[in-house]
């Protein structure tokens, strides 16, 4: 990753496409991901019950097992929860929340990290030092502890009602803030290498401002590694949300996400109603494995010496 002098294939390159078509791993992962994303986007149209619209729930349908078991009933393929909510619908809505939290958290880390990395690498000086020291400082803290801390702080500062309303932004903030240094370091490293190259000097002589140079000349050089890191980071953010929610410091139980579903389903692990925890856990695993496999392949494809 530190080797930035070699030319790298761009995301658009046809070589990359060929590499993609050559790799079963990449194609399967991509296919699974695409299916999941389509299903999640269509959730409001295909879901039988809507966890946000309580009038669609009926207690009389509560805790039905999956259809292939005794007592199971169509159309609740994977059974229902304690409120009569359809498990498939819950998982779709839950995955929607989890993915949204994951993607937003990564966008936040990428944005903060890239801006700070560019500034630090291009201008250097005391601003650059402070930024990188801050990144170092933050590296000393494991993300999970940091996220717990941010979540805890938010709980203290906000009123209970505001907490419920801002639950998702809070988790996004906690996860996003805890990961920006990865991107800052990456961007800074690349900028340090490119900064002194002739074309940048030429652009500077041509009277281009520092922000234009950053945007037009420096940023394109770091798009690939950022893309790889961001892909893998989505997996971590999704797991982070699940872990925080499982521990009770993420989303509230009224906000279905894969983490909150597993948290509430966990209580039923020994009671015979295993579908309440096993299916959301499987969904989480499939999602994260798919993202990771795809990210892994992307990294190897863009970094041929490692293959």
């Amino acid at each position: 990753m530190s080797d930035t002098t070699e030319p790298r294939p761009r995301l658009r390159d046809s070589e990359l496409l060929r590499a993609f078509l050559d790799s079963t791993q990449a194609m399967v992962a991509f296919l699974v991901l695409t299916l999941l994303i389509i299903a999640v986007l269509l959730a409001p149209f295909i879901a039988l019950t809507n966890p946000y619209d309580l009038a669609t729930l009926d207690l009389l349908n509560s805790r039905l097992p999956p259809v292939w078991m005794d007592g199971g009933d169509w159309p609740y393929v994977l059974g229902t929860d304690s409120q009569g909510g359809d498990m498939v619908s819950l998982i779709l809505y839950g995955m929607r929340t989890s993915l949204m939290v994951g993607v937003l958290a990564v966008i936040l880390s990428v944005t903060i990290g890239t801006i700070l990395g560019l500034i630090s690498g291009y201008f250097g000086g005391w601003a650059g030092t402070i930024i990188m020291r801050a990144a170092d400082v933050q590296f000393t803290f494991p993300a999970i502890i940091l996220a717990l801390l941010i979540g805890g702080l938010a709980k203290g500062v906000l009123t209970p009602t505001a907490q419920a309303q801002f639950a998702i932004p809070m988790v996004v903030l906690a996860l996003g803030i805890s990961h920006w240094p990865h991107f800052a370091r990456l961007v800074r490293g690349a900028v340090l290498v490119e900064r002194n190259k002739d074309y940048v000097a030429a652009a500077r002589l041509a009277g281009r401002g520092p922000f234009t140079i950053m945007r037009r000349h420096l940023l394109p050089n770091v798009v690939n590694p950022i893309a790889v890191l961001a892909t893998l980071d989505i997996a971590f953010a999704v797991m982070g949300e699940a872990t925080l929610s499982f521990l009770g410091f993420g989303l509230p139980p009224t906000e279905p996400s894969l983490g909150t579903l597993i948290r509430s389903g966990y209580n039923y692990l020994f009671s015979g109603e295993w579908w309440l925890v096993i299916f959301p856990a499987l969904a989480l695993m499939v999602l994260v494995v798919a993202v990771n496999l795809f990210g892994d392949w992307l990294r190897d494809a863009l970094n041929p010496q490692l293959r």
Binding site: L54, A164, T254, F270, S271, G272
Partner: protein
């Protein structure tokens, strides 16, 4: 239920014939036993644990009736004074004799505890009359003081003085740990061996106990296992003999496991929805367009009735509580002083009637509101709240459920109360209907010790007057009439939407026989382990 309890007790008694040698019982519960100082907390679990070590002045039988314990007799002698006769020949765990001074000392110590203000705040003085007599003088007449005295715990005065715990240890005082937090000196059936809050508490039987010891447990350990599934796993894998708060969803699993049994008893509290009865504008309540409602809809009795008709408490008890709950129709439950069985009829579930009432009250399209929901502390509250919300959605009231962990929920109530609609459990410590009214239904006036827990700010001047009369009436017949009048008025005015009384459920491995009691105390002296 009662029958089941008695059968458990009978079984326990029958088995005592062959009192075996060293028997150890490991039992686990969800919440930690915080402190061994009986006056420093009124926490439910902690009380059930320190009751092993400390006897109360008046005892409780297995079906929660008052029985003589450290006091053998009690009489009202006029002038706001109750006279207690102290049992002779009772020993503390260090071998010293229980004296009337110890009793008076303990009463004066506990009455100052902020945790027992609602129970003992009225006590002014405990006077030693002679070696076996103690007079308790209250600020006003207190007909239900004996009931309250089942929560009065007696500890050794000499021991307290020797260990510098004459004052109840308080928080933030200084860095040192008060002796009474992890040590104890009572007269109870069990002696404290060690206490590590949030891990385990160990006991040993006290052979010189003043009462019979029908069971055969010689040592016992209470373990705090917070996570429900872990607790159940520990029971199934044999690591603990008994679980005192079996999660509802696991009852079936334990019952069907060979050799395992469960015991159940109704808990001494009931769940209810409380609705803002005072504010001109309800908090977080809007019309369909999102504008705050000009009027507080909950002040309108028709809206309260509509909500009572819309919420199907039977379905909640059946589905959410898996049948382990009894639907409640009045502001009292069986076993409480003043309970009226014939009045205990809940509002009928009638969605059409609910819609009509809402339309009459001027809300034909319903409205949007927020319900605050405590996430822990009571059984399955999260599911109860969501079930209520989905039932109210059918009559046009859109409810956003705002789940709060207990400290936050408590903070919201104590620092306000800042809630116009919430779920809460209520169970007055004295187990008397009178205190349901003085504590929860009377217009809130903390300084006068009236309606202290009336977080919904319900108000009804007639109920206030009748309750004041009740608190000073000793005549049983008169009291009965007042109880009935109050319960009917509260029900018809919907002081709150009553839901259900949850069951306490214990799970035991085969060979363990423990009679259950409604205050969730494992009376270790009655437990038989094979």
């Amino acid at each position: 239920m009662l029958k089941r309890t008695l059968m458990g007790a009978a079984a326990a008694l029958a088995l005592t014939a062959g009192m075996a040698s060293a028997e150890n019982l490991r039992f686990a519960g969800a919440t930690p036993a915080l402190t061994m100082d009986p006056h420093a907390t009124n926490d439910f679990t902690t009380t059930a644990i320190f009751r092993q070590v400390y006897d109360s002045l008046i005892g409780l039988s297995l079906d929660m009736e008052l029985t003589p314990a450290l006091a053998t007799e009690w009489d009202y002698i006029g002038d706001n004074t109750w006279r207690f006769t102290i049992r002779e020949g009772v020993q503390f765990h260090d071998g010293s004799e229980l004296t009337a001074e110890d009793v008076a000392f303990s009463i004066m110590r506990q009455k100052d505890s902020r945790f027992y203000r609602s129970l003992f705040g009225g006590i002014q003085e405990a006077q030693v009359v002679d070696a076996t007599t103690v007079d308790v003088i209250s600020a006003g007449p207190d007909p239900i003081l004996p009931r309250k005295m089942s929560r009065m715990f007696i500890l050794s005065q000499a021991w307290s003085e020797a260990n510098d715990v004459v004052e109840i240890p308080d928080l933030g005082a200084e860095g040192a740990e008060a002796h009474s937090i992890r040590n104890a000196m009572g007269t109870g059936p069990m002696r404290l061996l060690s206490h590590d809050p949030s891990v385990e508490t160990r006991f040993e039987v006290f052979a010189d106990y003043w009462d019979e010891l029908p069971g055969n447990v010689t040592t016992a350990t209470y373990l705090n296992i917070g996570s429900g599934p872990t607790r159940v796993a520990a029971l199934l894998s044999g690591e603990v003999d008994m679980v005192v708060d079996l999660p509802l969803q696991d009852i079936g699993r334990i019952e069907s496991a060979p050799g395992y049994t469960i015991a159940e008893a109704p808990q001494m509290l009931w769940m209810q929805l409380e609705l803002d009865g005072t504010r001109d504008q309800a908090l977080e309540t809007f019309d369909r367009a999102g504008n705050p409602l000009a009027e507080n809809p909950f002040r309108d009795t028709r809206v309260r009735q509509a909500i009572a008709h819309a919420v199907d408490a039977d379905l909640i008890a059946d589905r959410v509580m898996r049948g382990k709950a009894r639907v409640v129709g009045i502001s009292s439950i069986p076993g409480f002083g003043g309970y009226q069985e014939d009045l205990d009829q809940r509002w009928e579930t009638d969605v059409d009637r609910a819609r009509e009432l809402l339309a009459e009250a001027g809300y034909p399209d319903g409205f949007v509101t927020t319900m605050n929901c405590p996430l822990e502390r009571y059984v399955n509250t999260d599911d109860i709240c969501r079930a209520v919300a989905s039932m109210l959605a059918r009559v046009g009231i859109d409810v956003r459920v705002n789940g709060l962990v207990w400290p936050e929920f408590a903070r919201m109530l104590v620092n306000g109360p800042d809630s116009s609609f919430h779920l809460i459990g209520m169970g007055p410590d004295s187990r008397d209907t009178q205190d349901a009214f003085t504590g929860y239904v009377m217009t809130r006036d903390p300084d006068a010790n009236e309606g202290f827990f009336n977080w919904a700010l319900y108000t009804n001047p007639e109920i206030d007057d009748l309750t004041r009369t009740l608190t000073t009436t000793f005549d049983e017949e008169e009291r009965e009439g007042l109880y009935r009048d109050l319960l009917e008025r509260a029900r018809d005015g919907v002081n709150a939407v009553y839901l259900h009384q949850p069951m306490i459920v214990w799970g035991m491995r085969g060979g363990v026989t423990a009679p259950i009691r409604s205050d969730a105390t494992v009376t270790l002296q009655n437990v038989v382990v094979e």
